[in-house]
């Protein structure tokens, strides 16, 4: 009585789509897919029909016509006579800029806070606990508005720097903190500056090569070379040498009062600072929790085993705990980066010209092409988020456990 239960091979009947558990799930999935497509088609057709009835159409022609408005922060050349598409590009670059800056600072802040929260020092760990709980439990929009309002209300306006006995003066004679933003000196690239930059790039490559050599020497012979000060020397000395030999081709342009505002140097606008800081401290609090979770996920046995091998606490952290913790930290970190990018659309609250403010705000409003603009916006955020996700997943694969 052992051969009875074997099903017949290769005989597929249509009724099995419903009755056989092996195929039934496919049937349901197929039906669900059909329903989804039908719903989408209905929405699309309905939209087009209603637009046609109102005499409107979906057209992206407005992207080519002059935008007509000015933007206060633009990393590429832009004037009010450029097209709406150009204005959207300015917005995209501004979005990417603030997202990138905030991702970097939030990561640094988050890792420091996460590690410090596990510190044995009572004061440090409690301070970090307070930071995390306060910042992640208040909406990021409130933080953006608070930092911006503080900046405009507390810092002096440029006119306070004017006159023989000004109410405010520049910090170190080079930095001006005003309620319109921070003005800092900025390098001017003279002739020959290319060589200085090239020297610096080569120095970075040399420094990396040196560190690799040191690691290889350690593994091969057990000889430990110093790493910190030679790296610094390789990075700085050749560049300094090139700078002076070529007769100082790079000079600094200092900000100075000119008319109503400061001229010269680099202006970092108050909206950018407010948005950048707020996104950093807010998301940093979440990242701190991810880092803490990642470190605590590594069993104490690992630390104890490493200690018993004679590794010092710093090396235990760097060589044993962190590499393993990264595997736990990276996936939630990806979603924090995505959050930063999407939360940057709150920029409009402080007048930062991101993509939501240019394409989704002024362009939408002035052309009235709401559906087109919102579709483009969705496409942009989707593309950026998926790109970040893809890049981080590649990194995640590179640090994940290599099973042999």
């Amino acid at each position: 009585m052992t051969t009875l239960s074997d099903p017949q091979q290769g005989s597929f009947r249509l009724s099995m789509l419903l009755n056989d558990t092996r195929y039934r799930s496919y049937t349901f999935q197929f039906v669900a897919l059909l329903l989804l497509i039908a719903l989408m088609a209905f929405l699309g057709i309905n939209l087009m029909r209603n637009l046609a009835e109102a005499g409107l159409n979906i057209s992206y022609g407005f992207l080519g016509v002059p935008a007509g408005y000015d933007i206060n922060q633009s990393l590429i050349d832009y004037s009010s006579q450029d097209s709406n598409l150009r204005a959207a590009m300015v917005g995209i670059i501004n979005t990417l800029l603030v997202a990138f800056l905030a991702c970097v600072t939030a990561t640094i802040l988050g890792v420091l806070a996460g590690v410090a929260r596990l510190s044995k020092n009572w004061l440090v760990s409690k301070l970090m606990a307070v930071y995390v709980e306060i910042f992640r439990n208040i909406p990021v929009l409130i933080w953006i508005l608070m930092i911006y309002t503080l900046m405009t209300a507390v810092l002096p306006s440029p006119s306070a720097f004017r006159g023989d006995d000004p109410a405010s003066s520049m910090f170190l004679g080079a930095f001006a903190f005003t309620n319109r933003g921070v003005y800092i000196p900025w390098p001017v690239w003279g002739p020959g500056s290319m060589f200085v930059v090239a020297t610096f790039v080569l120095s970075i490559i040399a420094a990396i090569a040196y560190r690799r050599y040191a690691v290889k020497l350690l593994f091969d012979t057990g000889k430990l070379l110093p790493r910190a000060w030679p790296t610094a020397a390789i990075l700085i000395l050749p560049t300094l040498l090139a700078f002076f030999i070529l007769g100082r081709p790079v000079s600094l342009d200092y900000p100075a009062l000119a008319g109503f505002n400061f001229g010269g140097g680099l202006q970092i606008g108050a909206p950018l600072i407010a948005l950048w800081l707020a996104l950093s401290v807010y998301t940093g609090a979440f990242i701190a929790e991810n880092v803490r979770a990642g470190i605590q996920a590594i069993s104490r046995g690992q630390t104890e085993a490493a200690s018993s091998l004679g590794l010092r606490p710093k090396r235990v952290m760097n060589l044993v705990v962190l590499p393993q913790a990264l595997r736990v930290i990276i996936p939630p970190l990806i979603s924090q980066y995505l959050n930063i990018t999407k939360n940057s659309s709150l920029a409009i609250a402080v007048g930062y010209a991101d993509i939501t403010a240019t394409l989704g705000g002024i362009t939408l409003n002035q052309t009235g092409r709401a559906i087109e603009c919102v579709l483009l916006l969705m496409l942009f955020y989707l593309t950026i988020s998926l790109s970040i996700s893809a890049i981080m997943n590649v990194y995640n694969t590179s640090v994940s456990l290599k099973e042999r």
Binding site: L43, N46, L47, N50, L51, E53, A54, G55, L56, G68, Y69, D70, I71, N72, S79, S80, Q81, T149, T152, A153, P156, S157, S159, A160, N179, R180, A258, G259, F260, N261, G263, A270, K342, S345, L346, I348, A349, G351, A353, T356, A357, G360, G361, I362, L364, N365, Q366, T367, G368, A370, I371, V374, L375, L377, M378, Y381
Partner: protein
């Protein structure tokens, strides 16, 4: 949820909600009330009072239209719209009538397929600066930082004006008038620009209004008016003539106080035609004969509406200026009622 995704969903939902475009009057009558798009809250123009009832200069126009149709100024559903959502709401049929200080421009009239039914407020864009800045003309504002309400026509006028005069500026976009006022007073911008009426109203609320001057240049024309969807001319005619009736009533001396008396014993034939005791004007619009009488009785004639909501006796404190009757040197001029 991402803000833009939310707006997208709203947009699609709004367009889906839109039914047929034609015969708006039939739809409104069947529904029993008028769906009127107004600002989300702009003192004097459209804002709910302490009892939650909408009132203001634009709101009064909505009530007049509702009174002309239903003889009931309360038969209005007010739908607050932002600068971003107003056109989508009108195009989709979510609202029948948009009265939200919207500037009449070519592209809005032609490209966006709307019909402006008239102008209920003539405005123009100006600049306000602190006296201490020592500026007496907008042409001296080279390099200045300018606070500007984003998403408005003033933003485009500003860019045009500075480009035309070959001077530069740095815009500081703000969302609302309150935010602009705060930035301006904190010195985050050298000058604040918006419609001159708005500047006057804003300056009036300052602690020391005398420390600020409004520069003489008016750099744009801002005719603000109500609008309807393009394509339903009957509905456009109806709303246009309700507005004209309010303006004509002021010219003819018909007020909410004397409208009943005027209607019963009108000697002036134009008043008699307007109030429906003579002729069949109401029938031509598809309304009762006393449509205009009800519209005027609702909130008063144009002058009464102006005085009650934004006139010199109110905190907004605007003088009639360009918005006086043509007989008083203003631009208000209703076509003949015949």
């Amino acid at each position: 949820m991402n803000k833009s995704v939310f707006f997208g969903a709203l947009t699609v939902a709004g367009v889906l909600a839109g039914a047929s475009v034609a015969a708006t009057l039939d739809d409104v009558k069947a529904r029993g009330n008028l769906n009127c798009g107004v600002a989300t809250g702009l003192a004097g123009f459209a804002a709910p009072n302490s009892n939650g009832e909408w009132e203001g200069f634009d709101v009064a126009v909505c009530r007049a239209v509702a009174a002309a149709i239903f003889n009931d100024p309360q038969a209005v559903e007010f739908i607050p719209t932002t600068g971003k959502t107003r056109f989508t709401a009108l195009a989709s049929g979510e609202i029948d009538f948009l009265a939200r200080n919207t500037t009449w421009t070519f592209s809005r009239d032609v490209d966006l397929k709307f019909d402006f039914v008239g102008v209920n407020y003539y405005d123009g864009q100006g600049f306000m600066v602190p006296k201490a800045l020592g500026v007496s003309s907008a042409k001296e504002l080279d390099g200045a930082t300018v606070c500007i309400q984003t998403g408005t026509t003033t933003e485009l006028n500003l860019a045009d004006y500075f480009r035309n005069n070959n001077i530069s500026y740095e815009p500081v976009p703000v969302e609302t008038n309150a935010e602009g006022q705060q930035q301006y007073l904190a010195g985050a911008c050298d000058t604040y620009t918006t419609d001159a009426s708005g500047l006057a109203a804003t300056r009036a609320t300052f602690e020391n209004p005398g420390d600020h001057v409004i520069l003489p240049e008016i750099i744009s024309k801002e005719p603000l008016g109500p609008l309807v969807r393009h394509g339903d001319n009957d509905w456009g005619d109806l709303t246009r003539w309700v507005l004209n009736a309010l303006i004509a009533a002021e010219e003819l001396g018909v007020t909410s106080a004397n409208v009943e008396e005027m209607a019963s014993n009108a000697t002036n034939p134009e008043i008699a035609r307007l109030l429906g005791t003579e002729g069949t004007l109401g029938e031509m619009l598809g309304l009762e004969a006393d449509w205009a009488k009800n519209a005027i009785a609702a909130e008063g004639n144009y002058g009464e509406i102006f005085a009650k909501n934004i006139g010199e006796e109110t905190p907004i404190g605007l003088s009639r200026g360009l918005n006086a009757q043509w007989t008083d040197g203003g631009l208000l001029y209703a076509p003949p009622v015949r």
